[in-house]
């Protein structure tokens, strides 16, 4: 006399919709776990310093590190004509990989705390 379980009915008659639901739940789980990982990383990073990225400009870095733009420009080695130039462009001008410039600038900003 027992009625068939709801999942059984849906599996027998509406497989595609049920499969889509499983897929949506899997995607949700994926994003939820990635969020937790990023959250942990963010908590570690917050105490230290903001990351530098190749697309950031001198003005952007200065503002996010709470420094005057001129002081960051001096650290990079060329105080003139740096506005709106990204680290990638500056590294190209200086003929070196941008990772080099980022590593050097990060170290300098760390030691040169106001």
């Amino acid at each position: 006399m027992k009625r068939p379980a709801p999942l059984r009915i849906l599996w027998d008659h509406h497989k595609p919709t049920l499969a889509l639901l499983v897929l949506a739940l899997a995607v949700a789980l994926f994003f939820a776990s990635r969020f937790v990982l990023h959250w942990v990383y963010w908590h570690d990073q917050r105490a230290t310093h903001p990351d530098l990225e190749p697309w950031m400009t001198v003005g952007f870095i200065a503002h996010s590190w709470h420094r005057p733009p001129e002081s960051v420009a001096v650290l990079i080695g060329n105080p003139d004509d740096l506005r709106r130039k990204s680290l990638e462009d500056i590294a190209k001008d200086q003929n070196r990989p941008v990772e080099d410039l980022i590593a050097e600038l990060t170290a300098l900003l760390e030691t040169d705390r106001p």
């Binding site: 009625r3 919709t17 949506a24 994003f31 003005g59 952007f60 503002h63 709470h66 462009d89």
Partner: protein, 209 residues
Amino acid sequence: MTETLLELLPDYGAPFLGLITLLSCLALPVPASLFMMAAGGFAAAGDLPLGLTVLAALTGAVLGDQIGFLLGRGGSGVLQRMERRGGKQAQALARATALTRKRGNIAVFLSRWLLSPLGPYVNYAAGAARMRWHRFSLASISGETVWVMVYVGLGAGAMDQLSTLWPMISDMLGLLAAVSVALLLVLRLWHLLQIHRQAHPRKRRGDRG
């Protein structure tokens, strides 16, 4: 790819940002939310003018919505023919398009900012379901305004945490979109189950079919 595009942002400025938000409204894989946060950061640093940045992002997004809506409307004839064909499927389709015409503006508004990964598809669907143009446009403009303000503001206010904050926001958006799709599917399955039980009351084990 994203980094290369971001490097172009301070050079090409507001019009470039507008192009990015336009493309994102057509389901092209460009990270428009990240771009608006970066633009907010550049504006706070004095590398981009704030007012023009907001205006360009908003204009691009609203134009993109209109293009998506018109593309969807182009396909509305096919849906109408399917609705006229008769039968259960056609009735269900007719109910769905009628619901979209009546309540679609809420879906349009929320899918601009809270459920933004679903936005482009809602545009196409709203057009295909023949939603009224002024209803769509009003929901689109108000939703996009929230979207642009939130992200440009976030970028300007929290730029020192941008590179760590962005991955969390994109995860959260993906999670919200996946959960809302899952919820809709649960509602759909529940509805299908009710229909099945009405059609087969007190069904016994073993005589499934």
